[in-house]
Symmetry: C2
């Protein structure tokens, strides 16, 4: 059941799940194309900018399932973040020469948007009160 | 690479992707527990109520990847709906006796919420104009 792509996907996953963003990005190709909820991300810099806010507020991540073969891997996990208590995600990655060249990245933005709106609302309330 | 759970997950997927909600629900256990973006769904009736609005406005669905073994399958797909033009999803299912007893269901609610809000906004504007 294991394969080269799955090994890479799991090594990438373990790195960011442990808070090691730089370690995770070592598995990301310079010219990665990622189809993510905010839209198409092109290149490792855009991918870093996308992943960094999430990893920086990550409390824990737990693998739900991971499968793959030599070229493609599919990983699902749950995570706890400072902003959102339950933030599962799924990634389908295509791997070439040990790095992820294409990714489908799925998660629900709704609770993150709600949490940010609540923070802004809370900020407004404080401003009004002071 | 195939297994009993993957066969069930793919049969379920093919049914709803073809617009056959009843056919898809034949693979759902009466006591399914589904961890979905809106929260925990318990039982086939709740699962139907969750899936029906999506399937009823589905234009097309395309499998991105599917893997599994005898007990667990992981499926990712993209879809086009009348409300949202790009609506990918991922499901991790546990299968017992040919039916899905547990599911992790991930998709991004944000574009659906935005599209519904735009429809309400459009309705308000019409109301104001008439």
């Amino acid at each position: 059941m294991t394969g080269a792509a799955l090994d890479v996907a799991l090594a990438y996953h373990r790195a960011w799940a442990g808070g090691d963003l730089d370690g995770a990005l070592r598995y990301i190709a310079d010219d990665i194309v990622c189809e993510a909820p905010p839209g198409l991300l092109s290149g490792a810099d855009a991918y870093r900018a996308f992943l960094e806010p999430y990893v920086s507020q990550l409390v824990s991540a737990t693998l739900i399932a991971a499968f793959g073969d030599d070229s493609t891997a599919l990983v699902m996990y749950d995570s706890v973040t400072q902003l959102v208590a339950k933030a599962p995600g799924a990634e389908c990655v295509r791997v070439e020469d040990g790095r992820i060249v294409h990714s489908w990245f799925i998660f629900d933005r709704a609770p993150f948007m709600a949490a940010r709106a609540a923070m802004v609302g809370s900020g407004d309330a404080q401003g009004t009160a002071s």
